[in-house]
Amino acid sequence: MEFSKKKWRMPRLAGDQRNASYPHCLQFYLQPPSENISLIEFENLAIDRVKLLKSVENLGVSYVKGTEQYQSKLESELRKLKFSYRENLEDEYEPRRRDHISHFILRLAYCQSEELRRWFIQQEMDLLRFRFSILPKDKIQDFLKDSQLQFEAISDEEKTLREQEIIASSPNSSGSKVVLESIYKIPFADALDLFRGRKVYLEDGFAYVPLKDIVAIILNEFRAKLSKALALTARSLPAVQSDERLQPLLNHLSHSYTGQDYSTQGNVGKISLDQIDSLSTKSFPPCMRQLHKALRENHHLRHGGRMQYGLFLKGIGLTLEQALQFWKQEFIKGKMDPDKFDKGYSYNIRHSFGKEGKRTDYTPFSCLKIILSNPPSQGDYHGCPFRHSDPELLKQKLQSYKISPGGISQILDLAKGTHYQVACQKYFEMIHNVDDCGFSLNHPNQFFCESQRILNGGKDIKKEPIQPETPQPKPSIQKAKDASSALASLNSSLEMDMEGLEDYFSEDS
């Protein structure tokens, strides 16, 4: 599959024509974009959308979807990144265009594996659900029509005829609500999740779906279409990846480029082992603080704890040699035989640095990963204290950290409401004495970086000169440098237009 050689220049649209191409603030992304854009814009759009989807993910964990807090935070995120979200705003062409193009760019990056696809589809669905939920009622019908969905609202007469049946079929709606709501008549096969559980009225092959249930159906349609589209896109992938302009960008993107998986660090070797104790109280998030304390007290940690804490330490800059030294020193204090350590534990440490076996350079765990997988059991110290600690125990811990009672009760409330990362942000604010931490927490190493930034007076650690304790050149730094220089050279050749990408999305290729 070649890049199409034709030069498609979209004529500069004026006024009404621009609005016609994007009649709504949301869409199903059925048509790929067909204009030319520069490489720089390509990259920026992609990065912005990844940031957006990451926020969607984050907010979805910290707040209950659909609540006012969730909605307002998501809206401000959309506004900040200049994507469309609301109808009837001025100058909507540009945000909608950005939304359109960036979605399709991300398809290229996120079609590559089952896990990436699942993540991408989930966030895009949540985003669509939000946008749909704030769509004014009178716009819904237009939007559905334009999106080629066969959903028509039935007339009032038709509604009255079937009023009793519809009320009896809808588990949660009462009589009065049905009278006011729109009812949509759709082919029964499109309402699978509703009719299989007898949650909708069926007549002559059609399901009579109230508005509130239509959202679920629309989202299912969207998911099905997007899933299919991603599979198709994946087929074009070899051709895409062979394009030198795209390859580094797309790889970068799908490894969750927000710069924040903390695997390619620019700060390697800046931490010395004797700093760790003080750092653990000043800059570690509570999960790592408690792991460090347990390690110091028991001279041992179980596997889950070693993984979570060990990778975190790698993320803050420990070298392999430092790590080996660190763990060995501590385990020996627990009367472990040095040989036993070398045989049993050092292999695992080297493995997690990518020096054994598969040589995968394991990335430090994100908050979501810590919260959602591998819960701790008796004798474990890993996990997220806000999620996995008993509230009483959590309270005691916070008291021992000298947090004010007011702060403690706020934190406990947040934890109780399952807003674990927000609770951790609150902890951050309390120990650094700031009103607003200024970031949306999703990674323990992020906590550390932000903390160091504040404590070191705003200087970004990454920018400081590297002073390794051991003379080994870090291959990972080299790679990071290469990637960024590659990008830089790409940027300079940016007048090159991106053309023919729409072919990757179409079925005929």
Partner: protein, 415 residues
């Protein structure tokens, strides 16, 4: 009807496949008007031969090919499978993964053994007039839903030959339905849940979906005669204990004082209506009376038969090797009168044919009359005739629909 002797099958089948099996109607059905190329040629059949030899992936070029093969192999059982992407008899030549089941009718199989926990007259493979009503109710309830709720127009109900009924839904759009939607349809039609260890198998929520309400209305028409008289479900301690387990109050004494199931049921209804008003009662909901009726009468479907597109199901007009009965279509207009015990057996119709042939030989016969014409007249003179007529009526409706669709399509194209 004379008893059927399974050892006679090979001879009987030979005659049946040569003179009686309605090939042209059968082909007319599965060819679906020839609208889609190779639809018949890509259809899988499976045969069970003498001594239980089972062969899959049989397919045929046309009606005459089908006839020749059936006459040659003399199958004891014939199953119909899916329409595949390639000719099933060539599936080994197809690249791995490319041979796929693409379309099939939506089918249902209702089997009397699934009701063993609620029928007292028979068990396992046995049936009798007293329990056959379960099938009558099942056909009415399921058919109503398929027609009125799902809008399916071409539904063929067939007696399985021994202890149940099958339904073939043949609408064009239905043949294309995915496995997920088929499963969903079965779920929609299911109310009785739980195996042996579950006492109460039907739980209704406060709101009654129209499907449930309409099904109950059908059951009400049959309940008294079927359950309280014929099945006598409250006849004695053994039978009423099962039902008392579903009821909150102790009405045992009332039961003992009553004389028959009808009276006992009245007492039970009173208790049940008290539950209706007592919303606080978690264990016994407001619809107790209906839940019991549904547990004893509502159809029980096997989801595995319906959900798989490649599932093979017994063909209409095939013979049941154990009973000898032909799998005949059921006339929906006369479903209450359908009696499985009057369905002709293969031996019966073969004997009928013999008798007729002898008579005709005595008359003058035009030698030029083709064998085919002979055959198309033959079944008409046997007890098979009315059932073939039901089948033809079904085929006419299919034809009408097809013509209607083609007309619409050509109008659209014209515009």
């Amino acid at each position: 009807m004379e008893t059927f002797d399974p050892t006679e099958l090979p001879e009987l089948l030979k005659l049946y496949y040569r003179r009686l099996f309605p090939y042209s109607q059968y082909y007319r059905w599965l060819n679906y008007g020839g609208v889609i190329k190779n639809y018949f040629q890509h259809r899988e059949f499976s045969f069970t031969l003498k001594d239980d030899i089972y062969i899959r992936y049989q397919s045929f070029n046309n009606q005459s090919d089908l006839e020749k093969e059936m006459q040659k192999m003399n199958p004891y059982k014939i199953d119909i499978g899916a329409v595949y992407s390639h000719r099933p008899n060539q599936h080994n030549t197809v690249k791995l993964g490319a041979f796929q089941a693409q379309e099939k009718e939506l089918v249902f199989d209702i089997d009397m053994t699934d009701y063993d926990d609620v029928r007292r007259c028979c068990s396992s493979a046995d049936i009798c007039p007293k329990c056959w009503t379960l099938m009558t109710m099942a056909i009415r309830i399921i058919d109503r839903a398929l027609k009125e709720d799902f809008g399916f127009k071409h539904r063929l109900w067939v007696y399985s030959g021994r202890r149940g009924v099958h339904c073939w839904v043949c609408d064009e759009s239905v043949r294309k339905l995915s496995s997920a939607v088929r499963s969903g349809i079965v779920e929609y039609l299911s109310l009785v849940k739980g195996g042996q260890d579950v006492k109460k198998k039907v739980h209704l929520s406060e709101k009654i979906h129209p499907f449930i309400r309409k099904s109950i209305n059908i059951i009400k028409k049959y309940f008294e005669e079927y359950a309280l008289v014929n099945q006598d479900i409250l006849k004695n301690k053994e039978s009423w204990d099962k039902i008392l387990a579903l009821v909150p109050e102790n009405i045992l004494s009332r039961f003992q004082k009553s004389h028959n199931s009808l009276q006992r049921w009245e007492h039970l209804k009173k208790v049940a209506s008290r539950c209706q008003n007592n919303i606080k009662n978690d264990k016994y909901g407001p619809w107790l009376e209906w839940e019991i009726m549904l547990q004893y009468c509502f159809p029980r479907l096997d989801i595995n038969v319906s959900k798989g597109i490649n599932h093979l199901l017994k063909s209409p007009f095939s013979v049941h090797p154990k009973t000898g009965r032909i799998s005949v279509p059921i006339d929906l207009q006369k479903v209450d009168q359908f009696d499985p015990f009057t369905v002709p057996t293969i031996s019966f119709i073969c004997r009928e044919l013999d008798a007729i042939s002898i008579n005709e030989e005595e008359k003058e016969e035009n030698e030029a009359e083709s064998d085919v014409k002979h055959r198309t007249r033959d079944y008409k003179k046997t007890s098979l005739a009315p059932y073939v007529k039901v089948f033809e009526h079904f085929l006419e409706n299919l034809d009408k629909s097809r013509k209607g669709e083609l007309l619409k399509k050509s109008e659209r194209d014209f515009i």
